[in-house]
């Protein structure tokens, strides 16, 4: 049971880990405060849940 729970957790966390990996690879370290990284679908969901507008910044990392 413990293994199933851990496996489920790993699957749920996978997208966030991918983004962390991407951010490390790009050395993209200049964000301050709470940002959702490269995941618009999470942004839409969070904005709908909180009733807040979204600030979406497109900025390729050279």
């Amino acid at each position: 049971m413990k293994h199933i729970a851990l496996a489920t957790l790993a699957i749920l966390l996978a997208p966030a880990q991918d983004k962390d990996h991407l951010r490390r690879e790009l050395r993209d370290t200049d964000l301050e405060g709470a940002w959702i990284y490269d995941d618009l679908e999470s942004g839409y969901a969070e904005a709908s849940k909180l009733g807040k507008p979204m600030l979406v910044v497109f900025r390729c990392v050279p």
């Binding site: 990996h21 991407l22 690879e25 790009l26 993209d28 964000l31 405060g33 709470a34 940002w35 959702i36 990284y37 490269d38 995941d39 618009l40 999470s42 942004g43 839409y44 969901a45 969070e46 904005a47 709908s48 849940k49 909180l50 807040k52 507008p53 979204m54 600030l55 979406v56 910044v57 497109f58 900025r59 390729c60 990392v61």
Partner: protein, 227 residues
């Protein structure tokens, strides 16, 4: 900033082109929107006074958000115009290169400028006429004869005599409330209306002139994009 859900996007792979159409040649761009994918406005860098200009646009977006969904209809035109591809990777000029993929790092990343180049080439490859808007410079208000402020980006600070804006009756000091029927937060919003307009069109403009609402009809003459 804590009044917004902030999202940073670092690649164009998967970019929803039914929404995210902008000057893809820029180094960065901002969309102000909501969780239902309604767009309140765009903001593009200008090199100077960007922070103050963006702050004013954020304030405007909060006001539009308070009015949502009553203002849903007037925001509809802020989404993208129809183009043949849903995402950049569907564009023939991008897909055929094969080297692009969802970014794992710098390698393989579709950059925004790739979308700009890819769009122009893909129209040709698909045997479609390339619309002028895809190869002309992204239009600034100066192209039709007026300038907006760097911080209060809805305020007209200059009108060129004899050009379309002057002929429409726009005046220095006017604050643009709606342009093409869309609420305006920034110069980028005006640019969007111009970019997405037909090559010959008349744009309805609503301005605040010393507290009074004034309407004007701004005629875009043939060839205005490329002259």
């Amino acid at each position: 900033m804590d009044q917004f859900v902030c999202v940073r996007v670092v690649q164009a792979w998967g970019m929803d082109l039914s929404i995210f159409q902008f000057d893809w040649r820029l180094t960065w761009a901002v969309f102000l929107m909501n969780g239902e994918k309604a767009v309140y406005g765009r903001f593009f860098p200008r090199q100077q006074d960007d922070v103050e200009g963006l702050r004013k646009a954020l304030e405007g977006a909060l006001e539009l958000h308070k009015k949502y969904p009553a203002n849903k209809d007037e925001l509809a035109g802020k989404k993208g115009i129809p183009i043949p591809w849903k995402t950049p990777e569907e564009m023939p000029a991008i897909s055929e290169r094969g080297k692009f993929q969802p970014a794992q790092g710098k390698k393989g990343c579709i950059h925004c400028h790739n979308v700009q180049e890819g769009a122009g080439k893909s129209f040709k490859q698909a045997g479609l006429p390339v619309p002028d808007r895809f190869f002309a410079p992204y239009p600034t208000p100066q192209r039709i004869g007026f300038m907006l402020g760097a911080i209060d980006q809805t305020r007209i600070i200059d009108v060129t005599q004899g050009w379309p804006a002057e002929k429409a009756g726009l005046k220095v000091g006017d604050r643009i409330v709606r342009f093409g029927g869309q609420p305006i937060l920034s110069i980028a919003d005006v640019q969007w209306v111009l970019w997405s307009s037909a090559d010959t069109a008349t744009i309805k403009v609503e301005v605040d002139r010393a507290g009074e609402r004034v309407e004007a009809a701004l005629a875009l003459p043939a060839g205005w994009r490329t002259r």
